[in-house]
């Protein structure tokens, strides 16, 4: 908690666009040394910043910080140092080019690593040290890095408009330049389609972290730490689903509804809930994916990959889902027999109506019956073929659907 508050302070300094870089950068770089003091406070950030209070009353934070075990203090100080420097690097390097976002996907990853991945590193070290997390978490940096990157990248997509209005952006040019000449173009309604294609391209970059995030969560064995880590992740996949193919992000700030957030918090208390939520939202993204999007297939493949990963990691759940879905099908969907009866009923009613209409219109059924007899004669006893074979009875829709399925399933090995 103290760790979070300290980083909040750091973040508040970084986020304040009104603070002069000459003050900001040295402050970020030397933030680690602040932690050695007992009475440091700072009131130089803008009143607009929500978490200004953290810095104004930072002395209370420091008092609490010094009560922690020295090894915990060391980890926190170390991470604070790394993050402060990372932020400072970014600001000094990129401040001129901010309107264009970051240059490459690699730079995008690096920025997200500085602002979110390193926090994960610190938290993970603390978790492993305290025995709340399995040692594998610490040994595999990709896992904790992905935890941070997934959150950060998704927020970067969501906050497009807010950031742009603040005169900055974090979207990588390597991606957005495929869809527009400048980021501002995305806010013009005539470019809506291109803008959404860019979002789905960015969504792929977010979704590629999902498997790591789930694996990370699988290795936390303390319930409150689990929730602490899982809640932002489930919020993030829900947010990604919300922004995906949603033109609103170019015009205003959108967030998931409070009710939904509450529901996600309640459901994400254990790994089974996390599996369920991730599978659910992955499927929602797949169902909202549009075939005319140039990233269509990439999104479909990555969604399929995540679903497969979840099934693979939770085989009992996959089997249960299969069984449950069959069971609910039996409950919710009519049984096969009922479908058969319904089909037969619809068929006879349709035929009856047709015959009735035909009769009312003066059809000569006496002749038809005679014809029918000849037909039976032909079929059974190889008699002469009647002149008018009534072959057009199959309703058009049946024919179309039949041929669809025929071509899709060439018998066995599709």
């Amino acid at each position: 908690m103290i760790f979070y508050v300290i980083l909040r302070g750091l973040d508040t300094i970084e986020d304040d666009t009104e603070l002069d870089n000459d003050i900001k950068i040295p402050l970020l770089r030397s933030f680690k040394s602040v932690l050695d003091k007992d009475d440091w406070t700072f009131d130089g950030v803008s009143e607009k910043e929500h978490d200004r209070i953290v810095l104004v009353e930072f002395d209370t934070v420091l008092t609490e910080f010094h009560k922690l075990k020295p090894e915990y203090q060391k980890i926190i100080a170390n991470i604070t140092h790394k993050m402060g420097n990372g932020m400072a690097d970014y600001i000094s390097k990129e401040s001129q080019k901010n309107y264009e976002g970051v240059e490459t996907i690699a730079a995008y990853d690096l920025y997200c690593h500085h602002v979110a991945g390193i926090v994960g590193e610190g938290l993970t070290q603390l978790a492993v040290l305290s025995g709340f997390g399995e040692p594998i978490l610490d040994k595999n940096p990709q896992l904790y890095n992905s935890m941070g990157l997934f959150l950060q990248k998704t927020n970067i997509i969501r906050d497009f408009r807010e950031d742009l209005d603040d005169g900055r952006s974090f979207w990588p040019k390597e991606v957005w330049s495929k869809y527009a000449d400048s980021l501002v173009d995305f806010t013009k309604p005539e470019n809506e389609k291109k803008a959404l294609h860019c979002v789905s391209d960015l969504a792929v970059l977010s979704l590629q972290h999902v498997e790591d995030c789930i694996e990370y969560l699988e290795n936390i064995n303390e319930p409150s730490l689990f929730s602490f880590c899982a809640i932002p992740q489930v919020m993030s996949i829900a947010t990604l689903e919300l922004v995906f193919n949603n033109k609103d992000i170019f015009y205003r700030n959108i967030k998931i509804r409070r009710g939904l957030a509450a529901k996600l918090i309640l459901e994400s208390g254990n790994i089974a809930g996390v599996y369920r939520i991730f599978k659910d939202y992955t499927r929602k993204i797949h169902l909202r994916n549009r075939p005319d999007d140039p990233n269509f297939l990439r999104i479909e493949i990555i969604c399929g990959k995540i679903e497969k990963f979840i099934d693979e990691h939770d085989p009992t759940s996959a089997l249960n889902v299969a069984k449950a879905s069959r069971a609910t099908k039996r409950k919710n969907e009519p049984s096969e027999f009922a479908i058969f009866v319904a089909a037969a009923a619809i068929l006879s009613v349709t035929c009856g109506t047709m015959v009735l209409i035909a009769y009312l219109n003066g059809a000569r059924f006496d002749l038809v019956f005679a014809d029918g007899l000849k037909m039976v004669n032909h079929l059974l006893f190889n008699g002469p073929m009647p002149s008018s074979a009534h072959e057009n009875v199959v309703p058009a829709v049946t024919a179309t659907v039949a041929s669809v399925v025929e071509s899709v399933i060439p018998h066995s090995d599709l």
Binding site: C303, I339, S412, D413
Partner: protein, 356 residues
């Protein structure tokens, strides 16, 4: 394709069924080896003309032997003449034939090949089975090689593939090593079924119809990847250090990218610029009902029904596999992505259309 130059400890390979859809890609993959082995093909037909844009091999350097797989004389004759270190058996009739033909080629042909190869002391046999041997219409979630065969196979094709696979694997011994590859849903240049059928649907405007909820994942495999996995299997089975891990084993092969059933079609239709503004979704239950109606009318008219309740269930089933075994034992990883594979397939179709 980014295949790094592989090598296998064989001077001569015999590709049975090498003129078929997969067979031509097998030739291509063995052609890529360095050093390149002598490539022999045994088939009932001549090598068809292939486009150099999609196949690298030089047809004049491929030795084709025409013969009947079910004939002990034909098969013995070619094996004793060549004495290959490994035989790759991918001969199988195309789909939609009668069950007698499947029995004849898949079961009798394979039996004959095993007997001849054993007698003539061929060291190894790689057999092309099918992932379909596990499928009978029920959902398959992430099924691996431990998944049992269904009590009742889906059709004669899959049943005979299963019987043949069992024959091949049972024949494994230290003197005669055997292995089986089970690819799921092969597609690629030369494909006459999956992608061509989907494109034909699009041309008829049927891309606007979707049966089921499209939440069912299924696996497909680019033909080049399937052929590549055969080369890996041949390489491992001929390596004395690896042979025990591969001999008598089967390996599922996919593109390791399961896709939602209708999304593959949409990707293909996209290639042709066909995007349905609105898709007409027929729920599974309605589809089954239409299936019954269709079956009823078809029986009245004495025709094969196009849509049956069974087919609807198959279309809506989950069907994807776990290929961990192939990754760890064979060192397999798909070399061509799904997207590249689809583009290559469509481009090769367009090319052959232009020729006509």
């Amino acid at each position: 394709m980014s295949t790094q130059p592989l090598s296998i400890p064989a001077k001569k390979v015999l590709l049975v069924g090498g003129c078929g859809f997969l067979g031509l890609h097998l030739i291509d993959q063995f052609w890529n080896l360095s050093p390149r082995p002598e490539i022999h093909v045994f088939d009932i037909r001549e090598l068809p003309k292939v486009s150099p844009n999609f196949y690298k091999f030089n047809p004049s350097q491929i030795n084709v032997h025409i013969g009947d797989l079910t004939s002990p004389t034909d098969v013995s004759e070619v094996i004793s003449r060549i004495s290959p270190e490994v035989i790759v058996h991918s001969a199988s009739p195309v789909h939609g034939m009668g069950s007698a033909i499947y029995y004849k080629v898949n079961v009798d042909g394979t039996k004959n090949l095993i007997a001849c190869a054993k007698k003539l002391k061929v060291p190894a046999l790689v057999y092309t089975s099918s992932a379909g041997v596990l499928f009978n219409g029920d959902d398959l979630y992430n099924a691996d090689e431990t998944h049992p065969f269904p009590a009742k196979s889906m059709d004669a094709y899959n049943l005979t593939k299963q019987i043949a696979e069992e024959l091949v694997l049972k024949a494994d011994s230290p003197e005669f090593r055997t292995t089986a590859i089970r690819p799921a849903g092969i597609f690629g240049p030369g494909d006459r079924q999956m992608i061509p059928a989907l494109r034909a649907m699009g041309q008829k405007g049927q891309h606007k119809i979707q049966l089921g909820n499209n939440l069912n994942l299924f696996d497909v495999t680019y033909v080049g990847n399937v052929a590549y996995s055969h080369v890996l299997a041949a390489q491992k089975i001929l390596d004395p250090k690896e042979a025990d891990k591969v001999g008598g084993e089967c390996f599922l092969i996919t593109n390791d990218a399961p896709i939602y059933f209708w999304s593959l079609g949409r990707a293909v239709w996209n290639y042709d610029g066909l995007v349905a503004e609105r898709t007409f979704v027929i729920p599974r239950s309605v589809g089954i009902a239409i299936g019954y109606v269709s079956e009823f009318f078809s029986s009245l008219l004495g025709k094969e029904p196009g849509l049956t309740p069974f087919r609807v269930r198959t279309t809506c089933a989950v069907r994807y596999y776990n290929i961990t075994k192939a990754k760890t034992v064979l060192g397999y990883a798909p070399q061509t992505s799904l997207e590249e594979g689809i583009n290559l397939t469509c481009a090769s179709m367009d090319e052959s259309l232009e020729k006509k």
